[in-house]
């Protein structure tokens, strides 16, 4: 019995050791890209100076300190927080819906937020010009929640079945894209420009305050999701099997949906539409960790953070001196990257 136990533990620990190595690598890469993100910009600041500015701000000059702490660090950390939120939300969505194509973007959360922001831009321009900066993220947040709650409501009617929830999400995507097109059709030229810019996704308008809100949601929601990680793992065997293992599947999905609604809405409301992170992050994580959700969920979050940090660096490097909207970058680097993943997975299945 003793040797039996030891053999089992050897096998179990060997698998987990590989996963911990993957987590360490992802964490290091995310930190590295975030650090590079802080060094990248019009003013040339090298890595040692950035590290000095971060660890002992008094040792660098005032200009460097201001650039690092006021301008670049909030952007770099917002990229990481938004990427982590979308990666985690996408992973949980894919797990509870049992569909690898589920993500906040493909199920219309981004479209809902985009419409909310557009509505705020049009209304604030016409009615409350001074309230625009506040109204846009609030409205984006509310409409992102409206999409999530609509999917959830349709899911409840359909017994939280995967099909009803995915179809509702796709319907929401088309509905809010159409509504946004309608708004743009009637909006003034200035408003259309502002709407288009918002939907591109942009990190540059972030502040420590906005970052704190995104981080607060992420920090509050992550432990609640992780506490159910074994139950999510059981869902990988199918709803019926999970129920046979004594898991109350419907309440679990309801709780998950509320949490991922908060995560996705808080992530997109300040920075605009960010595609592909919620889809690509979980796919990379799944290749590294398998379906054990105790590793898959944090790895998805880390992958999302890593891709966003890298995208932020690229967005500032494409044209020196100017910043490309990050939503465009994530999609551009995401698509070919995704094709590589598909080919790799096809080969590994043979």
């Amino acid at each position: 019995m003793c040797s039996t136990g030891l053999e089992g533990q050897r096998i179990y620990r060997a698998v987990n050791r590989r996963r911990w190595v993957s987590i360490s690598v992802l964490l290091s890469l995310t930190t590295f890209f975030a650090l590079i993100d802080v060094t990248t910009g019009v003013a040339n600041i090298d890595i040692p100076t950035v590290i000095s500015a971060l660890l002992s701000p008094d040792t660098v000059n005032g200009m460097t300190r201001t650039i690092v702490w006021t301008m670049r660090l909030p952007v770099a950390l917002t990229a990481v927080a938004v990427g982590a939120s979308l990666g985690l939300a996408g992973a949980v969505m894919q797990t509870i819906l049992g569909n690898p194509l589920a993500s906040p973007y493909t199920l219309g959360v981004g479209a809902g937020a985009g419409f909310g922001a557009s509505l705020a831009i049009v209304l604030s321009g016409a009615i409350l010009p001074s309230a625009g900066s506040l109204l846009i993220p609030i409205n984006a947040f509310l409409f992102a929640l409206v999409v999530c709650m609509s999917i959830y409501a349709m899911g409840r009617i359909g017994g939280m079945s995967t099909e009803s929830m995915i179809l509702s999400g796709i319907a929401m995507l088309f509905l809010f894209q159409a509504l946004q097109a309608l708004l743009q059709y009637y909006a003034t030229e200035g408003d259309v420009q502002a709407i288009v810019f918002w939907t591109f996704g942009n990190l540059q308008k972030t502040t420590w305050g906005k970052l704190s809100l995104i981080m607060a949601v992420l920090v509050a929601v992550t432990p609640l999701i992780m506490a159910d990680s074994w139950r999510y793992t059981a869902l990988m065997l199918g709803d019926e099997k999970a129920e046979s293992l004594g898991i109350s599947v419907e309440p679990l999905k309801v709780k998950a949906f509320v949490l991922i609604s908060l995560l996705s809405a808080s992530a997109v409301c300040f920075v605009g539409t960010i595609g592909f992170i919620g889809l690509a992050g979980p796919h990379i994580a799944r290749m590294l960790s398998g379906d054990d959700q105790r590793f898959f969920l944090p790895m998805s979050s880390l992958c999302g953070a890593m891709i966003m940090a890298l995208s932020s660096v690229i967005s500032k490097s494409v044209i020196p001196g100017s910043v490309f909207p990050i939503g465009i970058i994530t999609s551009i680097i995401g698509v070919p990257f995704f094709f590589v993943l598909i080919v790799y997975r096809q080969r590994s299945w043979r």
Binding site: M1, G8, T233, A234, G246
Partner: protein
């Protein structure tokens, strides 16, 4: 004491799937529910396991199922579904470990790992431990599902078609394992089987369902008769006794033909 079912009824969209089903399943014995397709066997097992909300009473050791704290009830009863398809990349070890999901914490305890490995060894499938579950054959997946059901040391074991997709050798070995397990750990085992000969040989009690009702119940010798099989299955058959006195059914012709 074991498990008893009293007046269990279940309807789906105004269709009565189970009608006033009552029977008892003693501790340390195997009770097998038999009956033709659509008789309500799976619905009955799901109702006992609490997955479907049926009317009626289910008692475990003389105590109403509802009176047990939910968590305790889930730990004492283990249910294996009919299907076992999955597209997940979970390994066999992880799938079996999930049988202990009610007690697992983020950091898996040594006891959980040891019990998982022990059941894999007992069922002679430890060589599959690291393989992805989805890449196994249907029969191997069935064995893994049975291991998953046994790994949590249940007091009540409910198995829906445990031998589906298994070859003859595995079918015999699995039924013998379930028999040994039931006796040695004094579990109350309720299962469904389509093979009447296997049901007669490996069960102490049979419950024959037809159209959601209990047609008859009792020892295999009592339940299986040529007349009963014709009335419930619509099949003409001959019954003979095996070398150990067990009843064996030879189907001859369908009465529908």
């Amino acid at each position: 004491m074991g498990l008893s079912v009293e007046g269990l009824s279940f309807s789906y969209r105004n269709f009565d799937v189970l009608k006033d089903v009552s029977f008892s399943a003693p501790k340390g014995e195997i009770t097998t529910v038999i009956g033709p397709n659509g008789a309500g066997k799976t619905t009955l097992l799901k109702s006992i396991a609490g997955i479907l909300e049926a009317q009626g009473t289910v008692k475990i050791d003389g105590r109403d199922r509802e009176s047990y704290p939910k968590r305790q009830f889930r730990r004492m009863l283990s249910y294996m579904t009919q299907g076992n398809s999955s597209t997940s990349s979970l390994s066999v070890f992880e799938v079996v470990l999930l049988g202990r999901v009610q007690t697992l914490s983020l950091r898996v305890q040594k006891e959980d790992i040891s019990k998982t490995w022990a059941i894999l060894r007992e069922m002679s499938i430890s060589d599959l431990a690291e393989r992805p579950f989805k890449k196994l054959s249907g029969g191997q997946q069935r064995l893994v599902s049975i291991a998953q059901t046994l790994v949590c040391d249940p007091k009540v074991l409910i198995l829906d078609e445990p031998t589906a997709n298994l070859d003859l050798q595995n079918e015999l070995e699995v039924l013998e394992l379930i028999g040994r397990y039931t006796v040695s750990r004094e579990t109350t085992t309720i299962m469904t089987l389509h093979d009447l000969n296997m049901a007669a040989r490996h069960s102490q009690k049979l419950v024959l369902l037809k159209s959601g009702r209990v047609w008859t119940q009792g020892a295999p010798d009592h339940v299986l008769s040529e007349r009963t099989i014709e009335e419930t299955y619509g099949v003409l058959s001959r019954l003979i006794k095996g070398s150990k006195g067990e009843t064996m059914v030879f189907p001859m012709a369908s009465v529908r033909a």
